[in-house]
């Protein structure tokens, strides 16, 4: 593993939700934390997000959605990534997420859910932990097995 390897994050806004502030603040915070950030902008379908994530070979998809149904989009993106063989990409989601929906979303493979007032550091720590301890380690061991 290269020492200066940077975590690549796709910050994405699914559906027609137009609240952009959370996504933009997150982009800034992740960049400040030394990550490479790609922002999809608004009005993305789940297919569009998954296509971009795979084409850009990102480590993380961070979904920002303050609309009606975070559950539907978060689960759909996680499922589509798995179907496309990219289930090792870490998926996190932010928005107003009803407590009652959380278990189902987490069970679908989304590892972090964040509501208003979450310290950005908490999201950064989670991403670093997941990517370095799981995705990269897995990739490295696969690489080692090949060699």
């Amino acid at each position: 593993m290269k020492k200066d390897r940077k975590i690549r994050v796709l910050v994405a806004k699914p559906g027609i939700d137009s609240h952009y502030r959370g996504a933009e603040l997150l982009c800034r915070a992740l960049r400040d934390a030394g990550m490479e950030v790609i922002y999809t902008g608004r009005y993305q379908t789940s297919e569009m997000i998954v296509n971009t994530a795979i084409a850009e070979d990102v480590d993380v998809v961070a979904l920002s959605y303050l609309g009606w149904s975070p559950k539907a989009y978060f689960i759909e993106v996680a499922r589509m990534l798995k179907e496309r063989g990219a289930g090792d990409i870490c998926v996190v989601g932010g928005g107003i997420i009803p407590e009652a929906d959380k278990p189902e979303i987490l069970a679908a493979g989304v590892t972090g859910l964040y509501g208003p007032g979450t310290p950005l550091q908490e999201i950064i720590d989670h991403i670093v932990e997941r990517v370095k301890k799981e995705r990269w380690r897995e990739q490295d061991s696969k690489l080692a097995a090949k060699n």
């Binding site: 559906g15 027609i16 939700d17 137009s18 609240h19 952009y20 502030r21 933009e24 603040l25 800034r28 608004r42 009005y43 379908t45 609309g67 009606w68 149904s69 539907a72 989009y73 107003i96 009803p98 407590e99 009652a100 509501g115 208003p116 007032g117 310290p119 950005l120």
Partner: protein, 555 residues
């Protein structure tokens, strides 16, 4: 072994922030010299007299209480009415409506981007759908508040639908009361919803203003929304400056179209956010009235005091509410609303304390409605106008906000005015930088939010509240889609086509588009079709998201 004793410390709890929310340093006490050369007649005047610092009406709340507003829209018209009708019967006079996320995005329900957002908000996608929401309401009696806050064409379309409905029902439009926001500069600055390019938005803005002034004289044609600037991160100085600079622009647009100051300045209205800083809210509301009165007199050279009055709606901002310890939000909303009333607001719009967690429940809405009655009937603050007027601190604060906001307005003027700074990106940068500044202050603990960066409690010990649950959403979604399909299939498509093609032609010219939008609604066009035709008239693609083609019946 004896248990370790707890040491109680009376001095542990100290004020952390020694500045106002907008960043002014505050002294421990204010004295007469802080408001030197203060002149009662020039700086305050009695309530109802120029410069209206103490309120725009002589009797203020004794004659008429402020109007209270509560946003309430449920999944279906039936569910919404079930909660609203009892409120209306108890004296609540507001019909508050806007497009939901789908029609505000300029798309119809059968668009691929809409699939998971259907069924949460009765979307006024057609005149029939709008009529279903308004059914059973005597149009002349209500106060219609259209909230195209995040998307200017939402107001254009709502007012066109209301006018079309009045024509359909044979009601005189001139009798209908209410207001719309109609503030495209704001949309450009906060970039909230995908909107038209500013050139088209400003044309529709002018068309809407002209239409309302000519045909609906009891309706407010524009009420720029300072609230959005606050929610986007701006402080009170920026909020005041941007909103009054916008108001100047809109008045100029209306005058350029040949409307008279008497027509345009009769119902001047803005909205602002209260902030958590109590006296900042009070001072901000007072400063806005005085600044506007001076602008009308000195800039527009209008002497009639009746035309110098600024009506102010104050909204308690959702952004100030916390997900953590949600019941604390009741305290926050109460202080914000109280400050608005003490500042002399004409309308107070209440947030619900569970907003950071979920869609407001019936219970949280009731708490807000009752809060309004408690402020109005129990606290005694409504008995006399501007009870804080003359306080050294409040007068210093009011003047300081006025001075700083006028400085920023001068800067905007020097850069060519609001349209120029919106086009150049200066405005957007100002808003983004303000948001980052606010976020930094919160992160660094310089701006306090109890439960977030101060007095936190572990998540598992946090307050449990009942969250609103959407019921049978899949069933509602299927019904909505079936209804849209039925509507599109059963309308007289030749009539619809004709009205829409006419609209597209007219969009290329200079005529007022409102008349053609009203006709298109009466011919059963949908919102997305209407917007698509305007876009095409200007040479843009039919679909705002660039994902679906123009419907074949319009080829």
């Amino acid at each position: 072994m004896a248990e370790k004793e707890i040491v109680l410390d009376r001095t542990k709890n100290r004020i952390i922030r020694l500045q106002t929310e907008c960043g002014f340093e505050v002294k421990p006490v204010y004295r007469p010299e802080d408001v030197e050369d203060f002149d009662y007649e020039r700086d305050l005047g009695d309530p109802g007299s120029y410069p209206f610092t103490r309120g725009i009406y002589e009797g203020m709340y004794r004659n008429m209480l402020w109007l209270d507003e509560h946003v309430l829209v449920r999944e279906t018209v039936e569910k919404t009415k079930k909660e609203l009708v009892p409120m209306w019967k108890e004296g609540y006079a507001v019909v508050y409506y806007s497009g939901g996320e789908i029609t505000r995005a300029g798309i119809d329900m059968d668009h691929p981007l809409a699939k998971y957002d259907i069924g949460y908000h009765p979307e006024p996608y057609s005149l029939d759908a709008f009529e279903r929401f308004m059914s059973g309401i005597a149009l002349e009696s209500g106060i219609f508040q259209f909230h195209g806050a995040s998307c200017q064409y939402d107001d254009v379309l709502c007012v066109a639908q209301l006018a079309a409905l009045a024509e359909r029902k044979g009601v005189d439009k001139a009798k209908i009361r209410g207001s719309c926001i109609n503030d495209p500069l704001n949309n450009k600055a906060t970039d909230f919803t995908r909107d038209f390019p500013l050139e088209i938005s400003m044309r529709l803005h002018g068309d809407l203003t002209e239409y309302i002034v000519k045909h609906m004289p009891r309706f407010t044609p524009f009420a720029p929304i300072g609230y959005n600037y606050y929610e986007a991160g701006c402080n009170s100085v920026q909020q005041l400056a941007l909103i009054l600079a916008s108001l100047i622009t809109y008045v100029e647009v209306a005058l350029q179209r040949g409307l008279t100051p008497q027509q345009v300045l009769r119902r001047t209205t803005i909205s602002m956010a209260s902030c958590m800083d109590f006296f900042e809210t009070v001072a901000k509301v007072r400063a806005a009235r005085r600044m506007w009165a001076r602008i009308v007199k000195e800039r527009f050279k209008v002497d009639d005091p009746a035309l110098c009055r600024l009506r102010i709606a104050v909204r308690t901002p959702g952004m100030s509410l916390t997900k953590q310890q949600p019941l604390n939000n009741i305290t926050r909303i109460a202080f914000q609303a109280l400050a608005a009333v003490l500042g002399g607001a004409n309308t107070v719009d209440y947030a619900a304390h569970d907003e950071a967690r979920c869609i407001p429940t019936e219970e949280s809405r009731r708490v807000s409605v009752a809060m309004n009655h408690i402020i109005a009937q129990e606290t005694g603050v409504a008995l006399t106008a501007d009870p804080l007027g003359g306080s050294y601190y409040v007068e210093w604060f009011t003047r300081k906000l006025e001075e700083e906001a006028f400085k920023l307005m001068k800067e905007i003027d020097d850069l060519g005015g609001m349209v120029a700074v919106a086009e150049s990106g200066w405005l957007r940068r100002l808003v983004v930088n303000a948001a980052e500044q606010r976020e930094k202050e919160l992160e660094q603990g310089k701006l306090i939010q109890v439960g977030v960066n101060f007095f936190r409690i572990p998540e598992e010990q946090d307050m449990k509240i009942k969250e609103y649950r959407f019921e049978n959403i899949e069933k509602v979604q299927a019904e909505v889609l079936a209804e849209v399909k039925r509507f599109k299939e059963t309308r007289d498509i030749q009539k619809t086509r004709q009205a829409l093609l006419t609209l597209r032609e007219k969009a290329k010219g200079k005529e007022n588009l409102m008349y053609y939008i009203v006709e298109a609604f009466k011919a059963n066009a949908t919102r997305a079709e209407i917007l698509g035709m305007i876009r095409e008239g200007y040479g843009y693609a039919y679909d705002t998201a660039g994902m679906v083609p123009r419907p074949s019946f319009l080829d």
